[in-house]
């Protein structure tokens, strides 16, 4: 039997009123990659906070055996000193500092308070090479893409003599190819003998890198097994959600009607570089009851396309036409775009979609306040009625509609954003990565809602980086690459291979 590097035994952590962790066990062997799977709110993050000392010894029950000895972490510095390093979903780099400065932040290579830059840069280069980066150590982190930033984070961990590297949803913000690179790096580090824990929703990734898996559900460790035992994805999903999930995409019989929206010759230039054309003569249409997908890699210009159509919220020097029901529509600012019947559910719901410190009610009604007001005066009771209606219709799980949205899970927050846009009464909804960062169960619900919208005769444009999702949900798919549409196909003819080859060959 291999050595155990980490053995967490019957960890129980209670917060006032709720058991966040109930008798959870986690065993990680030296030199393996161990995956922790579970829905949002299942307790994965809490478990990692116990491990890293955010919740210090004494604030939980149970034992942590690390490196063969009973260990009590006092705080994060303590766990880091023992070589346990977590890379969080939200990266913790200082964007305006250089790579080298970031790598040695708080751990500066100094003598008597004076930093030895030459040595720092040299060591940075060595570390960067380890994670496969060729950028100069003096490059500002801000200038790197998210994928490279993620790698810098890992280099930063390596600079600290890491023994147990924990990656919390490392690929959630990465493109397909960046994700692949990251996973390759994980395997390489494993080959060098490093023990790693990956927290992920994405089962294909788990299958690719993990040697063993622990599934957590509702604060309990449900199952734990080696991937070599021939465990299927379905089994993991079943353990995660507590039921079997045969069909990940709910059934829908499309009833496609008249064309609602038509966009033609749409061109957009970059807001800061007026010679850079980001969207190139794009045209598409959407019919009533239809779900139209826009496939493409990250950076293909899909979000820019959507936001530029929605009230010119992105870019400059925009040209082209938008027609609604065959009539030219004025979409020159957001309120006109809304009036024309458009809605845009943004990719980044926390910074663009919601006012986090406001209540569910206020977030929903903000898109259409005149409807809950008499003249200029708001009617709070009408507001509550509206919020309660959507809470019921969309199944927003909350103790009350005056709850702040910051307290909701990702899936429920997304339902609030959807409610907000439904309340504006649009004919066409543009959904930008509608299921990003949402767990499997909630994804299924969001899919159901999208189908309901189509069934109600709305047109839905769905932008997604997850191709299976587009294939499972859409009636028709456009393929976008480098700012232009390079293909269009009915979903029945579409496959991941066909979409990829269109992207690669253009």
């Amino acid at each position: 039997m291999q050595d155990m590097l980490l053995d967490m035994r019957s960890i129980t952590k209670t917060f006032p009123g709720v058991k966040a962790l109930d008798n959870v066990s986690l065993q990680v062997k030296t030199g393996e990659i161990h995956a922790i799977c579970g829905e949002n709110g299942a307790g994965k993050s809490t478990l990692m906070k116990v491990l890293s000392g955010v919740y210090p010894a004494g604030s939980y029950d149970g034992e942590i055996h690390y490196d063969g000895a009973l260990t009590e972490m006092r705080d994060i510095a303590d766990s880091e000193a023992r070589g346990i390093i977590i890379i969080h979903q939200e990266l913790a780099l200082v964007p305006l500092l250089s790579i080298a400065e970031n790598l040695f932040l708080g751990n500066e290579n100094a003598r008597g308070g004076v930093i030895d830059w030459r040595d720092t840069n040299r060591r940075t280069e060595v570390l960067l090479r380890k994670v496969g980066l060729r950028d100069a150590p003096t490059t500002q982190v801000e200038k790197l893409g998210v994928g490279k930033q993620q790698l810098v984070e890992i280099a930063k961990a390596l600079a600290k003599d890491v023994r147990l590297l924990i990656l919390d949803e490392p690929t959630s913000a990465l493109s397909e190819s960046d994700s692949q690179k990251l996973l390759d790096l994980m395997l390489e580090l494993k080959a060098q003998g490093m023990t790693q824990i990956i927290i992920s929703h994405k089962l294909n990734e788990v299958r690719r890198v993990a040697d063993s898996v622990t599934v957590i559900r509702d604060g309990q460790s449900v199952s734990s097994f080696d991937t070599s035992d021939g465990i299927t994805e379905d089994r993991i999903v079943r353990d995660m959600v507590g039921r079997s999930m045969e069909n990940r995409y709910p059934e829908r019989t499309p009833e496609i009607g008249e064309r609602i929206m038509r966009v033609a010759d749409w061109s957009v230039y970059h807001p800061e570089h007026d010679d850079r054309q980001v969207i190139k003569d794009v045209g598409f249409d959407v019919r009533a009851g239809e779900v139209v997908g826009i496939a493409g890699l990250m950076g293909a210009g899909r979000t820019e396309l959507a936001m530029s159509i929605f009230g010119r919220s992105w870019g400059q020097n925009i040209s082209g036409t938008v027609e609604m029901h065959g009539q030219p529509a004025d979409v020159s600012d957001v309120s006109r775009a809304i009036a024309a019947g458009l809605a845009y559910v943004p990719e980044d719901r926390k910074s663009l979609g919601l006012i986090l410190d406001d209540s569910i009610t206020r977030n929903i009604t903000i898109s259409n306040l005149p409807d809950v007001a008499r003249g200029p005066v708001l009617n709070e009771h009408a507001e509550k009625r509206v919020a309660e209606k959507y809470r019921g219709d969309l199944g927003i799980r909350t103790p009350g509609v005056f709850q702040k949205v910051v307290n909701l899970s990702g899936g429920n927050q997304q339902k609030v954003v959807l409610s907000k846009w439904l309340f504006a009464g649009p004919e066409v909804l543009i959904l930008d990565e509608p299921t990003r960062g949402i767990d499997v169960g909630a994804k299924y619900e969001i899919y159901g809602l999208i189908n309901d919208l189509a069934a109600a005769g709305k047109g839905v444009v769905m932008i997604s980086s997850e191709m299976p999702e587009l294939l499972g949900m859409c009636d028709r798919i456009y393929v976008m690459n480098e700012g232009a549409f390079v293909g269009e196909m009915p979903a029945s003819d579409a496959s991941q291979e066909r979409i990829m080859s269109l992207i690669v060959n253009n």
Binding site: K13, F15, P16, G17, V18, A20, L21, N40, G41, G43, S45, T46, K49, G219, F310, G311, S313, D333, V334, S335, A337, I338, Y344, P346, S351, L352, G353, L354, I355, L356, D357, D358, R362, I366, S367, L369, P370, A373, P376, V377, L378, E380, H381, K384, R385, T398, P399, G400, F402, Q403, V406, N407, L408, S409, G410, K420, A424
Partner: protein
């Protein structure tokens, strides 16, 4: 999402009273802090604080801060700041003095011009903040210097005054007692004077507070909106109503209802209504809460920001008129560093530096809290040095309290 966040939701049912208090500690805290401070000074000044004449003074002294705090609250809720209000106030006062005293322009025309000038000044600054995205801190810092300089230039470094009687009335006048019975009541109560109108307004205002509070409770109950626990409601409403009656009664026994108090009261009610009950108000909070999300929700964020500064300019102009009328002269130093008192009042009143949070009532109470501190310490003969230090610490304590509360909640 972490489980810790889930906990907040699930604890919903238990310990409702305590939980409500924690959630609204700031609002109650502010009210009780004001009462405690007033009680303290009432005792240590052996009753001078609440003497009718001092009470009248207290209201007049703080009127221009309160008026500007209304505008500042909106600017701060929208996510900005205005450092120029002290200078703008001084400049408008100077303009009024030059127009009335030197040029002998009719008072009504002067006042209208001053308000328009205030709006233009606010607009001129708001334009850069809203449409050019220049940080308001910098734009209004520039404005602070520019309008301080303009006042000096306009007054040629001299004080200009005095104003004619009709102008002074803005700040120092009292609403005439139109109700009968003053003479009789004076005798009954054994006071030197009795203004029936002031007393009646106190009673009407108190009744309105009680009535509207009850009505809102009834409505909320009917619609199942969670409300403050009954005990809190009763105590809070009783305190406010009694305070209104008490203050207006005290004023009635002196010279009656100051014009300024009426102006201040009406403005406060109007702005509280706009911010809390109207579409416009909600949009301002949304803008401050998350500008990008607000913009993508169809809110014209630039225009709202611009208007917030225009409004601030108008209120600074009104404050300038009141201030000049009260001092009966315009000096180049008028309004110096006053912006800091205004901003402090808004933050003591619970507004958040990052925008989206804060209430009109809080800002007004915050302004009076500072005012009572000033007034009480002056009566006690505490030096200006200590006064400054104490006020600074009060501001810091209020904000620390906010941050602590937010962390805990």
């Amino acid at each position: 999402m972490s489980m810790a966040e889930d906990t907040n939701q699930k604890a919903g049912g238990s310990g409702r009273l305590a939980e409500y208090l924690t959630a609204h500690l700031r609002e109650y805290g502010l009210l009780f802090a004001l009462i405690a401070i007033m009680a303290f000074f009432q005792v240590v000044t052996s009753g001078t604080l609440l003497r009718p004449i001092n009470l009248t003074n207290l209201l007049l002294q703080n009127s221009y801060i309160v008026i500007m705090a209304l505008g500042m609250l909106i600017v701060i809720v929208a996510g900005h700041i205005d450092l120029s209000v002290g200078s703008v106030m001084g400049f408008v006062g100077a303009l009024a003095a030059v127009m009335v005293v030197n040029w002998e322009v009719p008072i009504a025309v002067t006042m209208a011009t001053c308000v328009v000038v205030g709006a233009l000044i606010g607009g001129a600054q708001g334009y850069w903040v809203a449409y050019w995205k220049i940080p308001s801190f910098i734009v209004t810092l520039a404005g602070m210097l520019v309008f301080r300089g303009l006042s000096l230039w306009l007054l040629e470094g001299q004080s200009v005054g005095p104003f004619p009687r009709e102008f002074q009335v803005i700040a120092t006048g009292f609403v005439p007692d139109v109700l009968p019975g003053g003479e009789a009541l004076k005798g009954v109560l054994g006071t030197r004077n009795f203004n029936v109108l002031a007393c009646a307004i106190g009673i009407i205002a108190a009744s309105w507070v009680v009535w509207s509070g009850l009505r809102k409770r009834a409505h909320n109950k009917a619609y199942g909106i969670e409300d403050e626990p009954r005990a809190f409601f009763v105590v809070r409403t009783a305190i406010i109503a009694l305070a209104l009656v008490f203050i207006l009664y005290k004023l009635a026994t002196f010279r009656g209802l100051p014009n300024v108090l009426l102006t201040m009261g009406v403005l406060t009610v109007v702005y509280a209504f706009i911010t809390e009950r109207t579409v416009l108000g909600r949009r301002i909070y949304a803008l401050g809460g998350n500008e990008k999300a607000a913009k993508l929700s169809g809110i014209k964020t630039e225009r709202l920001t611009f208007l917030a500064f225009v409004n601030m300019g108008i209120l600074a102009a009104i404050a300038g008129l009141v201030f000049a009328a009260r001092l009966n002269t315009a000096t180049p130093k008028a309004g110096f560093a006053l912006e800091l008192d205004v901003i402090a009042a808004v933050f003591i009143g619970g507004a958040s530096m990052s925008g989206g949070v804060g209430r009109i009532v809080g800002a007004v109470v915050g302004a009076f809290l500072m005012g009572v501190l000033n007034n009480g310490m002056s009566i006690m003969g505490i030096g200006i040095d200590y006064q400054q230090m104490i006020k600074g610490l009060v501001l810091l304590a209020a904000v620390i309290f906010d941050v602590y509360n937010k962390k805990k909640g």
